[in-house]
Amino acid sequence: MNIVVCAKIVPVSSVTIQIDPGTRRMIRKDVSQELDPQAAKAVEEALRLAERHGGSVTVVVMGGEDATVGIRSALAMGASAAIHLSDPALAGSDALGTSKALAAAIRRAPFDLVLCATESSDSYAGLVPGQLAQLLGIPPLTFATALTVDGNTVTIKRQSEGGYDTVSAELPALVTVTTGINEPRYPTLKGIMGAKKKEIRKYTAADLGLGPGDVGASGAREHVLTVGRPPARPPGKTIRDEGDGGKQIADFLAGLKLV
């Protein structure tokens, strides 16, 4: 089974991400990048499937040169190969532009299953997987909290408003995984050493047959007009519990007539 994982490389979670008011994009320069923890769950799920059923796991990443560290993490976890879409012409792409680039790269090799995180942990838009499935012409099975493949059929437990649905489709298909689906493995030292020898294939927009009307800022439909801050909450009061913290809360609630 050929499994493709779409992964995003994001600023490390300890960093408070800032937006540049000039370019109206996230500031990624001089910010350490890592494999998105949510994408790591998709990589983990792919590796488990490949271990059970055989096959390859290829990670596809779109991002600048600084994405390499994150790509190596996915390879160190055990992915067989990586594709890196890296080109200044791709910078500024919106979700649909990103999906077009990923779809063009994925189409170049045979695949059975595409795995994505439900959404990235920096922008949380969650559009790319659904767009990608549509562009690839394969069914999207989304919000998976569990995933099995039996023969040519993929079945998931799909999160629902009131519980879950069991949903299936024939391969090829695309599945998005929720954060609770697994606990990703840590790369072993052997994995980290081995990752350095694995191939990272690079594509530019032109390699993928994409022009300025498809990708990059010029191809984007989505445009940020203004960057601002939300109205601040009026400052509250913070006290240290001196043994009467519970009582103080009760008084506070009584004062607001909430009890």
Binding site: I19, M26, D94, A95, L96, S121, D122, S123, Y124, A125, G126, L127, G130, Q134, P140, T142, F143, T155, R158, Q159, S160, G162, G163, Y164, D165, T166, V167, S168, A169, E170, A173, T178, T179, G180, R221, E222, H223, L225, T226, G228, P230, R233, G236, K237, T238, I239, R240, D241, D244, G245, G246, K247, Q248, I249, A250, F252, A254, L256, L258, V259
Partner: protein
Amino acid sequence: MADLIWVYAEIVDGKISRATLELLGKAAELGTAEAVLLGPGPDDAVTTLSRHGASKVYRSDDPVYRDHLTLPAVETIATLIAAHHPTVMLFASSYGGRDVAAALSARLDCGALTDVGDLAVKDGAIVATIPALGGSYQNTTTLTGPGPKLVLVRPKAFEIKPGAASATVEDVPAPRDTALRRIRVLERVTTEREGPQLEDSRVIVSGGRGLKGPERFAMLQELAQLLGGAVGATRAAVDAAWVPYALQIGQTGKTVKPDLYVACGISGAIQHLAGMKGSKTIVAINTDADAPIFQVADLGVVGDVFKVIPQLIEELKKRKRA
């Protein structure tokens, strides 16, 4: 002529979803509101939609939409859009809404906006207000290019506005193409839920990693009962399998705006704040004085939740008896 604003209406637990009604209220304010409702639903579905702002309902009760999810809905809506050219189509940030909007945006090559908190429409152009990066920024964004503006709206962004109205109904044919039935729903499981639903609760008592395990949620349950509220949780607590996903509040969970939110052992990660910052009054208890939750709390108590909460419970019981 008023802009044509469509709403993707959804049925959840056998009823028109609350989020659908929120969208209709806004749609009616922005222009001529019309709804698309696909799949089996309650008998009064059209009446409910019209009473909340829809002047027309495109309707099919064919089970194909329920049993095969996204693809038939995308096919039908794409056909309807080509025939009627709505300026905007609003979707709830629900599981189904997100799937349909994403697929449509690729099919129609028009893109989409997500997580929208407010929306203005003028001469066919839109300006959306979007809280970015967990609400630490508030940006305005537009969509350019031909095609409808597909907009996924945050829960609770708009108020439900009931009114008296009647809608015309246009029956739409369901697609018969078997390729659109590739996704099959085999089973639907509803997890038993007790007590008031999170989204409708006036009071929410929520727990995070600081509770150190599932047992301590019983303490929150007791506090919630005393306050007449429901229990919620952070993603950390849900990922650790201490409580079910249905309790998750945050960017990847439910968005809530109760009168009172009591955050217990919650540090206040951006992902969580995004789902509860709109609460009217926030009380937080955490051992770490530097925890970001204190930035949004009206009353913060730096202390041990295992001491402060039991004392609060005792205090509330005492006052109830008095």
